[in-house]
Symmetry: C2
Subunit: 458 residues, 2 copies
């Protein structure tokens, strides 16, 4: 007789844990088993900090106590196949398990391009969400004087900054003309690049890696401009690809980018099978196009939707796509973005205006800890709807970008923002008269179609 469980969750990172705990919260009577490969799961966004601020992966472990206390079972194992019609999962040792509902949170794997020569040399690494690998990596990097990081997305930038802090010489190579290029508009990305350089990272943009050179272990990196960098280790942070092997093998529909196809409630092509997180299909909030953005916060939101709708559609999904909300910190400066950039909006065909206000995050500005605070809004000229926003600031900018996130997700317009009430406090925020989101909206309203446009925003 097969073992049975009501809800089987595969994956122990953001998607898996949130799906399991949300489902348990909604259905305390259902039995839930979470299966993951790793004995200890790492906090994914915390990984770069293992190599500097935290110092060890032990401080970046997601505790299992919350799940266990909620009555969720955890099994450290690998599921090798699933019969979706019979709803049976098979483990590596041949054990089988019958489930009623399945949530796939199988995540993503680092991308290592096949064309990259020398990728298999010793001391060439990637950043998987795997504690054993990361511990080995940290150990291997200990005696490395010079490290080259390839790919300047959030992980590459944070890794570079942290490795520099821990004493290494770091070169960051990015084939795009700027760092964080897909996430921010140019002026914000350049601001971040300047800060990263100030921290001592050697930033090389507009140049790709042609080949990794060495005998048995990496010695040099050959760049597309034919210069070489002498290096002791290479870290490839060239993006991630959805881990959809299991889904594919059981016959679930995947999209053209290899993500598991899902609807607005995270249901796959199979009635009782849901997917959430990096492995699941996403659609862009602004355009509804298929998107390849992967974020732990998006994974958590999707997992919550999955967990709440397993047995009946109880939570009307009021957003219709993924609004990427990111933030990062370089030195003492925070960079955040929500929604679409001006560049991306224009490319998509939106008629938008970008409006920027520069202020301070204390009032008066003479208070200690004051940091410059910049907000840029991306506003639809036709409707005044706020489609995106970017911020630069001190630590409070990490939540300031969430203020913008809610504004965007609720479809608010500059009119709404102009008459919006906010809370201000000398030590914590900008002044009431110069709250940067409102001031940027004021500038947008003045600039839309010159002053006093048909929509009368100015």
């Amino acid at each position: 007789m097969d073992k049975k469980v009501d809800i089987l969750v595969i994956g122990g990172s953001a998607a898996g844990t949130v799906a399991a705990s949300t489902a348990k919260s909604k259905h305390p009577d259902k039995s839930i088993l979470l299966v993951r490969k790793e004995a200890q799961a790492v906090v994914p966004c915390g990984i770069p900090y293992i190599f500097g601020t935290l110092g060890t992966s032990e401080k970046d472990v997601m505790p299992d106590t919350g799940l266990k206390n909620a009555g969720i079972d955890i099994r450290i194992d690998t599921i090798t196949s699933i019969d979706k019609d019979k709803k049976i999962a098979t483990f590596e040792n041949g054990d089988t398990l019958v489930f009623d509902k399945l949530v796939l949170g199988t995540g993503s794997m680092p991308f290592k391009p096949g064309w990259l020569k020398g990728g298999a040399l010793k001391n060439v690494f990637t950043i998987p969400k795997n504690k054993t690998y990361l511990d080995q990596l940290q150990n291997d990097l200990k005696d490395k004087k010079h490290i080259t990081v390839v790919g300047a997305g959030f992980i590459g930038v944070e890794m570079s900054d942290e490795l520099k802090k821990s004493g290494a010489d770091v070169t960051l190579v990015e084939i795009q003309p700027r760092i964080l290029g897909l996430a921010f508009d140019e002026e914000i990305a350049l601001h971040a690049e300047e800060n990263l350089k100030k921290d001592g990272v050697d930033v090389r943009v507009g140049v790709g890696v042609k080949e990794i050179l060495g005998d048995t272990q990496v010695e040099k990196v050959l760049l597309s401009d034919d210069t070489t960098i002498k290096t002791d280790a290479v870290i490839l942070s060239m993006g991630y690809r959805p881990n959809a092997e299991l889904a594919k093998a059981m016959g679930l529909k995947l999209n053209d980018h290899g993500f598991i196809s899902v609807d607005a409630y995270m249901r796959t092509s199979e009635k009782d099978i849901f997917a959430a997180g990096d492995c699941a299909e996403k659609r862009d909030f602004a355009t509804s196009r298929v998107s390849t953005t992967m974020l732990a916060s998006t994974a958590a939101a999707e997992a919550r939707v999955a967990g709440l709708n397993l047995y009946s559609l109880s939570t009307y999904r009021s957003f219709k796509g993924t609004i990427g909300i990111y933030s990062t910190m370089i030195g003492e400066t925070v960079y955040g973005v929500a929604g679409i950039t001006e560049e991306a909006a224009t490319k998509e065909g939106f008629a938008v205006i970008g409006s920027t206000f520069k202020g301070m995050d204390r009032h008066p500005g003479k208070l200690p800890g004051m940091h410059e605070q910049i907000v840029k809004l991306v506003v639809s000229k036709a409707t005044g709807t706020i489609l995106g926003g970017e911020v630069i600031g001190g630590e409070s900018a990490g939540e300031l970008i969430n203020v913008l996130g809610v504004i965007i997700q609720t479809g608010s317009t500059i009119n709404d923002v102009l008459t919006m009430q906010i809370g201000t406090q000398p030590m914590l925020t900008a002044s009431p008269g110069k709250y940067p989101i409102i001031k940027a909206a004021e500038i947008a309203s003045r600039n839309i179609n010159g002053c006093c446009a048909p929509n009368e925003y100015c």
Copy 2:
């Protein structure tokens, strides 16, 4: 021939400056004169910090450069009367000025109860927004070892904390059973009280001041429980009253609490006269009842509405009342509130549920600078609408309360919040799986009418 100006603004604090700059931004062609009494205007919310962190009022001055650069004229003078029919203002020296539009931002004055015996003794002070007075106060407090602060609203609490930091022995007396009692629910207020005590402030709640004793100068404070406190100075922070003398004298309609009556566009009973800020009538966001809340951030929002609608109603006011959003800092801990408390909601007749989640403002929690982060939501049982929220946290809580503020102002429900996307970053926010606003919404959804209520929130 009388001098003329298009827009006359009276008052140089949050309301006056924002009204003037908003009006100029919308109508660059109009001449604007801002008249204020003080040579230098202080940042109102910054006043408590003059007495500790800042050390001098010079660091708390609002610069005039922004207004002047925008082309707004400033006159340091007192307007003694206004003929509202002829639209003529008269200055102290008899000068007259004809205006087209008038904005009253005359603010508020500290309340000193008439029944309080000993209130006229030397070394009994209030906290007006007046630099000359504050400079004198700071000088007078220099040699005072023991200071008694009466009234534990935000200003009383911040003054106490700052005076204690600067070395004085401080007793804070509050007639209500708890500090900050009108703003927060009990458990949050008690948390704040504990912190204030930890900072060394002697907090006495549930006890009023009966009389201030002394010969020519204050020596003791006699409390309602007949105990006395030996003290060298008394600071009365017992609230503020609208400064509506000028409005009253010219025949504008005032409401029962002495505020200048206004509509949703800040228009007074007189067609071309607007009022904003502490002197102007407010209505509560949740109930539309007349409210006596005074906040610089509310003043700024109202002034923006006034400035945008002087010549035609161009900015549809999408909120229908004042949502108080406050935050303060005691020691290293931030307390914030937006909208209505559970206690006030229940008193008003709302059927609400309060749900609280306690987490951390970093992830993993082992990152340096981690602070406990608590969010309480006040949710309508009937509709799931979020009516209010309170937070405790580190510095980022100053913007976290604004995330809640936008959620409340847009009429969002717990369903909206459960499927809301947020941005998270290890050094800056809670984890994606434990973002406190979403977790508190999850708890609310589970608790509304037990599990699986008619509204299916859980």
